[in-house]
Symmetry: C2
Subunit: 244 residues, 2 copies
């Protein structure tokens, strides 16, 4: 399993992925699920991937080699818009499905992939997409300025309650880490370390990439403090007076 | 969908279920999912149900009419132990599967049912079980003193962090309501009103049954205050100093 979350804020994007892959519970590995493509000053994009690792790696490899879209061989470094970038990722997913789908089906393995694509190209606004296994996609908007892939439920309530496009970047980082913490605690197939990517609006290059493990002092403190805060908040709630 | 949660505390049991059923998103109804069987002073049991409504109602009807277990016609009012009560519920589930499973399968409908059974019989400790669609079951223990059925993920993190068998009953009620609130907010197929059942240890009868709707002052206050508390707790967290 996987948990990835992407926030599309006025100030930029916060993208966070875990690194756990498992081929059965007795075969657990660490694989990065965040991939960055940038031409500093001109464009910056990050992909976060969930699903079958062979599929997501195949998609990334095809994107690196170039995918034919509208009769032209394109890469994420060449597409003119973020919309085309999302189309390109969708086309790469469809090509992998065409190539590997029948053989996977013959083995009873589902073609399982979802990809978050965030980025900005000079002259346009930052955009954040979620590409499905069918190669179609949706986009985050101001109404719901975040997207999630993988094991999304545990980490969703805090985002629903707090996040708005006006949330500052540093607050977004804290929020994404809390959301990840709730998921890590409840689902063993989502695991440390986690990969944080921050892209500031109009910077047109990655602002920060940070791998966060057990020993990261800020994350360790955050997890402990958040746990204490929840317990304190619950303790401070009034109890029902009708229980007798 | 459904969300039901049951807490097995030293002081007794807190059982909470929603009431929403849906046959498609355009056909939503209110059905109670909590059923009580008691012989005051001798035994008290409550069933909380999730899954196909025709299946769960059929199970309850069979339990009311009596189910043959070990060659003897039994009801929840006649079984000698809570273990036998769980077996009886499991047997009722299996009989419904035998009766309706093939016809459901022919329509492409899965035999979807899970039932929580909590209760106490005079002379024995309170016990809380979760009966699966196969009629087998598990039991809550001191290590994990709660069980959930239905849409369990949103409401699990707070239980994981806070609940112990020593949690007082009133605290358990507050906690179950918070857990339900997180689920209600994130999954529209779980809906108000909700049914709360409290069974005190050794009381051998239901201590409280309360239907809680939009207009319940305590629940309304709790939801608002919990939301504020989470926002305040998140606001009070330090932000990363390495973001620059």
């Amino acid at each position: 399993m996987t948990y990835c979350v992407g926030l599309l804020l006025d100030a930029g994007m916060v993208l966070l992925s875990d690194t756990r892959t498992n081929a059965g519970v007795d075969n657990i590995s660490v694989f990065g699920k965040t991939f960055v493509e940038q031409v500093p000053g001109e464009r910056v994009m990050a992909l976060l991937t969930a699903g079958n690792l062979a599929v997501t790696q195949a998609v990334w490899n095809r994107l690196q080699e170039g995918v034919t879209l509208g009769g032209q061989r394109q890469t994420l470094a060449s597409v003119p818009t973020m919309f085309r970038a999302a189309q390109l990722v969708g086309e790469a997913v469809r090509q992998v499905f065409d190539a590997d789908g029948p053989a996977l089906r013959a083995q009873g393995i589902s073609f399982d992939v979802s990809i978050m694509l965030g980025g900005q190209i000079a002259g346009s606004a930052p955009r954040l997409f979620l590409v499905y296994a069918a190669g179609n996609f949706i986009e985050a908007t101001a109404d719901t300025p975040f997207l999630q892939i993988g094991e999304h439920k545990y980490g969703k309530p805090i985002l629903d309650r707090v996040l708005t496009p006006a949330t500052p970047l540093a607050d977004g980082v804290t929020l994404a880490l809390i959301s990840m913490d709730s998921t890590l605690r409840s689902n063993l197939t989502v695991g440390l370390p986690i990969d944080l990517t921050v892209i500031r609006r109009d910077a047109l290059q990655v602002g920060l990439r940070r791998r966060i493990g057990e020993d990261d002092p800020y994350f360790a403190f955050l997890r402990q403090r958040w746990s204490e805060s929840l317990r304190e908040a619950y303790q401070a709630l009034p109890r029902p007076d009708w229980l007798g």
